[in-house]
């Protein structure tokens, strides 16, 4: 067996290859900290007047849930350790954790495997996704199905929020909830598993013209999957913050109708 070239430097890259993983670490960490704080705050998630419900508490299913926020009943005990959206949050977390884009992002930035292209792996041995626990990444498709159902619930929340004490109502909060839901759908539909299920798995597109059209559309979105992954982190946090601010009376919702 011949030897590789004896090059002393671990990497000869001269550009700022460490910048992208650094931004990823900062961005993802900030979001996770914010989300954790909010999930265990157990407060300021519902605006009774306008029916605004933050996506972090949808649907609210514990005993401590306020009336109106829990469309599916409140059957779980109200311990602080249990998130109020305990039915949905774990699936959303697993959906994003096993997402092909987020995998790339955290394998590179948190796990340094590899931190950047042609920069050495931070680990001595490597088995990739060949065995437990990372073999479990292959379950992404099932979390995609769950996420699609949860997007339906979020859509219902956004529609239900066209409300005011007088009946129908429409304010800035509705726009924010709607934008968030549209972005969530775009992210969910642009998923690689979705692209595969909708048409990618076919061998003969010519025999399935409708699925081919759908596949083409999903492929168009799929190219933007990374952008949508970050955009939805932003819209989720912003929507939650806005609802929290209104619920806590930090400022008033800008109302257009009622």
């Amino acid at each position: 067996m011949r030897a590789r070239a004896a090059i002393a430097a671990k990497t000869l890259r001269t550009d700022r290859w460490w910048l992208a993983p650094l931004i990823t670490v900062v961005g993802l960490s900030a979001w996770v900290i914010y989300a954790t704080v909010r999930v265990f705050m157990h407060d300021f998630y519902w605006v009774a007047d306008y029916h605004y419900l933050t996506p972090f508490y949808s649907p609210c299913v514990t005993e401590r849930c306020v009336e109106g926020a829990s469309h599916f009943g409140s059957f779980l005990p109200g311990w602080w350790i249990i998130p109020d959206a305990a039915l949905t949050l774990p699936f959303l977390l697993l959906f994003r954790l096993t997402c092909y884009y987020y995998r790339k992002a955290y394998y590179r930035s948190f796990w340094l495997s590899p931190p950047a292209c042609a920069v050495p792996d931070g680990h001595d041995s490597y088995s990739g996704e060949t065995r437990f626990p990372l073999l479990g990444q292959n379950l992404h498709r099932y979390f995609f199905y769950a996420a699609a159902i949860i997007s339906l619930i979020n859509t219902w929340d956004a529609i239900y929020a066209f409300h005011s004490p007088e009946g129908f109502g429409f304010g800035l909060g509705n726009v924010i909830l709607l934008v968030n839901v549209v972005m969530l759908w775009a992210y969910t539909i642009s998923c690689h598993s979705c692209r595969h299920i909708i048409g990618g798995r076919l061998k003969h597109f010519s025999k399935h013209p409708v699925r081919y059209k759908a596949w083409t559309a999903v492929s168009w979105l799929n190219v933007r999957h990374m952008q949508l992954a970050w955009i939805t982190l932003g819209t989720l946090a912003f929507t939650d913050f806005y609802v929290m601010a209104i619920a806590a009376n930090w400022f008033n919702d800008l109302r257009f109708i009622n």
Partner: protein, 367 residues
């Protein structure tokens, strides 16, 4: 006074700093050079100038200078690139350009590496398997069906993706179990191909090619000079196809209950991990295209026209290397030039008397 030809051609030539790795498998280091660089030149031009001037023994592989042969793969400022497609104008005037050989493969000398690993993996990858009842030439398919496969046909086999992939770049011990992105897109190309009839490509990719080692960090896509979306269009769809077969609990349950969808045990799916697919054709046996039968009946028939049954003598077997196969490159073989896959005693065009076909009137006098 004559004008300087360089000046006449536009901007004056500037001197630039280069560091180039010189050495072989016993060791080597980066050596400094100051070279003239003209407007519009690429890194490969500069290497050629060095060969023409101060470093005539600098080894470098190249062929087309047009980004289409995939020979001039090297690492420029630490990034895997084609030397002929990296413009000098992308660097700062004062920047030192560092050129090294591909790290993942054994070095032969200077910038030339031994990329046999890739040829071995190519040989292990099961070939296109068209339907048995359709003759070549009768293949018909629709453009939208074959479109996805065509993206992967743009590959120029520069092996930059193989070189950058951390699975083998940083962990040499994974080489036997891992085929690499170039062959994952080959597997996808064939699995998506409308006329390919093999049904075990997904299982094969997972169990023999090491698809599971890939953690989709996309470096292969980043370096591909043909801009093939290796990860998004090749590897991830292949992973999803594997999920269809292997990790889908509903499919798994269905298989348990109805005992269907069992992977036929071919040489491609058997447990060994060296993974070489051997051809089904037995060596030896009757060779149809070299002739002179000893059976007089068959000989007479052959004289009447076509007789595929006529026994013809076996040509010598092709020259093989220690693994019992045709050598991958001249480098790893003991003689110059590639051996004939038909054996050394077969010449083309075949002599008329070695054919299984005889023209009915061939013995009549020609006019």
């Amino acid at each position: 006074m004559g004008t300087d030809p360089q000046q006449a051609a536009g901007k004056p030539a500037a001197k630039r700093q280069f560091r180039i790795w010189r050495g072989d498998e016993t060791g080597g280091d980066l050596q400094d050079y100051t070279v003239e660089v003209n407007e519009g030149e690429v890194v490969l031009d500069v290497i050629h100038r060095l060969q023409a001037t101060e470093a005539p023994d600098l080894a470098c592989r190249w062929n087309c200078k047009a980004g289409k042969c995939g020979s001039c793969s090297m690492e420029i400022n630490g990034k895997p690139r084609l030397g002929c497609m990296t413009r000098m104008s992308t660097f700062e005037e004062a920047e030192t350009v560092t050129v090294t050989p591909l790290r993942t493969f054994p070095v032969i000398r200077d910038l030339v590496t031994d990329v046999s690993f890739n040829y071995e993996k190519a040989r292990e990858t099961p070939a296109f398997a068209p339907p048995a009842d359709v003759a070549p030439g009768d293949y018909r398919m629709q453009q939208i069906d074959v479109e996805r496969s065509q993206e992967f046909r743009k590959c120029i086999e520069c092996f930059l993706c193989q070189n950058v992939c951390h699975v083998i770049r940083d962990h040499d011990e994974n080489k036997p179990a891992f085929s690499g992105p170039r062959f994952f897109i080959r597997a996808s190309e064939l699995d998506m191909h409308p006329l390919d009839t093999r049904t075990d490509r997904k299982e094969y990719a997972q169990s023999e090619m090491g698809l599971g080692f890939c953690n989709i960090t996309k470096c292969c896509t980043e370096v591909c000079p043909e801009h093939i979306k290796i990860t998004d269009n090749g590897i991830i769809p292949m992973k999803e196809r594997v999920v269809d077969r292997r990790y889908d609990p509903l499919v798994w349950l269905g298989n348990k209950i109805f005992r269907r969808g069992q992977v036929p045990q071919t040489s491609a799916t058997s447990g060994h991990s060296s993974g070489a697919v051997t051809s089904g054709a037995a060596h030896g046996g009757v060779h149809s295209h070299a002739g002179g039968s000893h059976d007089s009946g068959a000989e007479r028939q052959a004289q009447q026209g076509v007789n595929w049954q006529r026994e013809v003598p076996h040509p010598t077997a092709p020259a093989v290397d220690s693994s019992g196969k045709l050598p991958l490159t001249e480098l790893t073989f003991d003689r110059a030039a590639a051996p004939s896959p038909f054996g050394d005693d077969v010449e083309f065009p075949l002599p008329a008397e070695h054919l299984n076909f005889a023209h009915p009137q061939q013995d009549e006098p020609k006019h």
